[in-house]
């Protein structure tokens, strides 16, 4: 068996970050190769290098494909030699038919006029190949996610795929659909199609992969072979998380006090796909003086849980109970949630947290304007005092509070969002990825602010995808997977391996 693809010491640098550091990946002709690693390990970046999303020249290293050096300048070029990537978020147009979707950008047409006869005929043949019995004219939004995934694969087949890359193909699928998809991959393999599958589900990886490459922190850690029996879940988990605790966390003594927030039997359904339950019977609590973490992979439902609690800002058919200070609290709208003592610091500060065109001062007071106003008239002097106070207290590095927040660095922006919610004077703060996209120094400062908050008797519920951060900061950690809280660990019990094993085995 000869290699179809060899990626040799690929290094990709973004401003300030080395996303990939001399990564090697070899994929044999006709095999199913699994690529595993934590969020942010570099899997998607590597696949973007391969498919030409990051064009040749924007990275270092060599790609050998089918015996010759490949230098793709775009997706079209990589597709022309049979490398097809199917992303986690499917790239189908919901209101077009299956047939139209299959040949989008590749229309069966002569002189600009679509040949519908050929389009439909070829669609039928392709659908048969992937085992889908829908009519080619069916609109894509009328079929489920599992079938949509198969349409994506049919689309790949229409382009004469040789190397098929699937990014988390089963993350949104039911057990049955997942199995069908895996069976299809094995069938394609029999027909000579090589696949790379990115997955967090280790049982799937074990059942279909011929070889597994583990990536961690932008570097290849190991490549395991199924034939030599190396692939065990424990081994993969160890390779995935086995990193030194490089980050530092300010010290804090833990003194949990009274129960501040309790969420009971929380159920949430997807706002658009009404049959999909996003949160399943979640129960959690936060005490005064406690930092509680929620660990989980992307798409586990952590943000959805937080936003659905905070004024029902996400989801439909929400049921369950929220207690604050032991009493049932009305959190049915955002302003009531704030009044009840909740604050939600979003993971997406640019789109959900800040008004970028406005000044620091105006952003900080936004969630609690009445505090700086009397009879509806804002006292600008009072407002400036408040903003200046936070600027100094939590070290927002600007000369004044009249800068537009759109011009600030990520760390400073995050501090403005935090200030906004501190000024709303909550009892419990839900921090969603509070250190995403900010540098190490600012991270350390934010950890300090969190510690000060809990020292003042507030409760913090912290969502983070960085396990070391959770382990370094939290008194307790909930583990979330596929919309359910699947485990709870105290700081003493928690380790990266234990959290990861809760996730991959649930």
């Amino acid at each position: 068996m000869k290699p179809l693809l060899e990626m040799r010491s690929i290094t990709k640098t973004f401003p300030g970050v080395k996303a990939l550091n001399a990564v090697n990946l070899t994929v044999m002709e006709g095999e199913i190769h699994a690529l595993v690693g934590e969020n942010g390990a570099g899997k998607s970046t590597l696949m973007k290098v391969l498919s030409g999303v990051y064009p040749s020249g924007s990275y270092e290293g060599e790609i050998h494909y089918d015996g010759s050096v490949a230098a793709f300048s775009g997706i079209r070029e990589s597709e022309s030699v049979g490398i097809i990537i199917i992303h986690q978020e499917l790239a189908l147009v919901p209101l077009l038919s299956i047939a139209e979707n299959l040949f989008i950008g590749n229309e069966r047409a002569s002189r600009g006029v679509v040949d519908w006869h050929e389009t439909f005929q070829r669609t039928e043949a392709l659908l048969k190949k992937v085992g889908l019995s829908e009519s080619p004219g069916t609109l894509v939004d009328r079929i489920g996610v599992g079938k949509q995934q198969l349409v994506e694969i049919a689309k790949a087949l229409s382009k004469d795929v040789r190397l098929l890359i699937l990014d988390e193909p089963t993350s949104a699928l039911s057990e049955k659909d997942s199995q069908a998809l895996l069976d299809l991959l094995l069938e394609l393999k029999a027909q000579g199609v090589t696949s790379i599958i990115i997955s967090h589900k280790l049982n799937e990886v074990r059942s279909i992969a011929d070889r597994v490459t583990v990536i961690r922190d932008g570097a290849t850690i190991s490549t395991l072979d199924a034939r030599s029996d190396e692939i065990t879940e424990d081994r993969i988990i160890r390779d995935m998380v086995g990193r030194d605790m490089a980050q530092r966390f300010p010290e804090r003594e833990s003194h949990p006090g009274d129960m501040l927030l309790e969420v009971r039997h929380w159920n949430v359904w997807h706002p658009e796909h009404s049959e999909r339950q996003v949160i399943r019977d979640a129960n959690l609590n936060v005490r005064a003086g406690e930092v509680v973490g929620i660990a989980g992979l992307m798409g586990a439902g952590r943000t959805e849980l937080a936003m659905s609690i905070f004024g029902r800002s996400y989801g439909r058919r929400i049921s369950g109970e929220v207690l604050i200070d032991g009493l049932p609290a009305d959190v049915s709208t955002v302003d009531r949630s704030i009044a009840a003592g909740l604050a939600y610091v979003t993971e997406d500060r640019k789109h959900l947290g800040l008004v970028l065109d406005e000044t620091i001062q105006r952003n900080i007071t936004l969630a609690n304007l009445p505090e700086v106003a009397s009879f509806g008239v804002i006292s600008e002097a009072q407002e400036i005092n408040v903003a200046e106070g936070y600027r100094k207290a939590i070290n927002i590095r600007t000369p004044g509070v009249f800068q537009k927040v759109g011009n600030l660095s990520g760390g400073n922006q995050q501090k403005v969002v935090l200030s906004k919610w501190l000024f709303a004077n909550p009892k419990v703060l839900i921090l969603d990825e509070p250190t995403r996209g900010i540098d190490v120094g600012a991270k350390y400062e934010i950890y300090g602010i969190i510690n000060k908050l809990v020292a003042d008797g507030k409760g913090v519920l912290m969502i983070s995808s960085e396990l070391p951060e959770l382990l370094g900061m939290c008194d307790r950690i909930y583990v979330m997977n596929e919309g359910a809280l699947v485990g709870e660990l105290t700081a003493a019990e928690a380790s990266q391996e234990r959290i990861m094993s809760f996730i991959v085995r649930s």
Binding site: V334, G353, V355, L356, P370, V377, P399
Partner: protein, 407 residues
């Protein structure tokens, strides 16, 4: 861990007025454009533009556009648009005519009823926009057709008028000289003392408020404009006000409608700049999702901006009918375009969150002075339209260009 450098201040202190102006072209550009346009027409019309009678006319002609621009600014800042205002002007004018002429209602009943109808129209449109998330463009386009049709129906295709004198005074009345001694004191024959004194008081007030704001800004380390620039700007504004009030005084005094317009402008400027309500509208337009997650009831706020727009459109409809002294089915046609143009010329952003009341008023005056000046010069309506269109485009391009240069 001081790994992050302090952000550089955007505006440095202590520069000359010229440099300051270059840096803030975007803020003052439209005022300068207005001055340039006025100077141009003053020359081209051999001084007719700034004659007392023409200044009075300028206010009478543009009052309803400016009044609607106040509401439209809020709508546009909130991230929406209202195309129906021209038709609402026509409809409310027609309604007022029917009430007063056909049904013999008193103006004290007619005016509140018409304003209420305007509020209801705004509420009806705002409901779909705010709570059903139907694009405002569609809802108000529908409203534009509906109320144009409704006014045709109300008037049965005829013109209805004339109106009682009291009603006409809404638009064409003047404040009588309440301070006749000023005239005798100054020994002038024909002059409205009240108008002059009012002008002086307002000019003084503006300078005083400006000084106060300047001191406060300095106290909080906000980059203040250079003193020379401050003096120049205030001399210009105060001078213009005194000049205009003097000119008006030598004709018939202050038009009622100027007072209405002035008071409303001050109220809306205050609301947008200093109240919780105003601040929330800017946040809503700047980032609706962030505003919502900050506890702002964005739906209700959107609804209210349309209710307010409906009320102001009704007021403009009454004033316009009073000015023509008759209600016609064609009244208010394409007013929405002048109003929207005024707001955008005044620096508001199509995507919401940006715009000032003063800007919208200046924008309306730019359009108004151009209309007036070109009419005096006898330029045909064909060229007028072309020129106005190009000015709107140029103003917005200028704004976008400056914004790009800044960032």
């Amino acid at each position: 861990m001081a790994s992050e450098p302090a952000e550089t201040p955007i505006a440095q202190q202590g520069r000359s007025a010229g440099q300051y102006l270059a840096g803030h072209l975007r803020d003052y550009g439209m005022v300068l454009a207005l001055i340039a346009i006025m100077a141009f027409f003053q020359v081209m019309t051999d001084g007719t533009l700034l004659r007392p009678v023409n200044i009075t006319n300028l206010f009478l002609q543009n009052s309803y556009i400016i009044i609607m621009a106040l509401g439209m600014l809020l709508v546009i800042v909130a991230g929406h648009i209202d195309l129906s205002v021209g038709s609402v002007v026509g409809f409310v004018g027609a309604l007022a005519a029917v009430m007063m002429v056909n049904w013999d209602w008193s103006i004290y009943l007619t005016i509140p009823c018409c304003l209420l109808v305007g509020i209801l129209i705004g509420a009806a449109q705002g409901y779909w926009i705010a709570y059903w998330r139907i694009p405002s463009f569609i809802v108000t386009l529908a409203g534009m057709l509906v109320f144009r049709g409704a006014s045709l129906w109300l008037l049965a295709g005829q013109s209805v008028g004339p109106f009682p004198r009291q009603f006409q005074a809404l638009s064409t009345g003047f404040i009588p000289d309440m301070l006749p001694f000023v005239k005798t004191m100054l020994g002038v024959e024909r002059m409205n003392g009240f108008a002059v004194v009012t002008g002086l008081v307002i000019a003084g007030l503006i300078v005083w408020l400006g000084l106060r704001a300047r001191n406060r800004n300095r106290a909080y380390g906000m980059s203040a404009e250079p003193m020379s620039f401050f003096i120049m700007r205030n001399l210009l504004v105060a001078g213009a006000i005194v000049f205009v009030s003097y000119k008006l005084a030598t004709f018939r005094g202050l038009p009622n409608v100027l007072i209405t317009m002035g008071v409303l402008t001050i109220i809306y400027a205050f609301i947008t700049e200093s109240t919780v309500l105003g601040r929330r509208i800017y946040a809503l337009g700047g980032n609706e999702k962030a505003a919502k997650l900050s506890g702002i009831r964005t739906e209700r706020l959107t609804f209210l901006t349309f209710v307010n727009m409906g009320m102001l459109a009704a007021l403009a409809g009454l004033i316009f009918a009073a000015r023509l002294n008759t209600a016609t089915p064609k009244a208010g046609v394409s007013f929405e375009l002048d109003v929207i143009a005024a707001v955008f010329i005044g620096g508001a952003s199509m995507s919401g969150g940006v715009g000032k009341i003063v800007g919208a008023v200046v924008g309306a005056f730019i359009m108004g002075v151009m209309n007036n000046g070109m009419s005096i010069m006898g330029i045909g309506i064909d060229y007028q339209q072309v020129i106005k269109g190009l000015v709107l485009l140029a103003a917005v391009i200028f704004d976008v260009y400056n914004k790009n240069k800044q960032s």
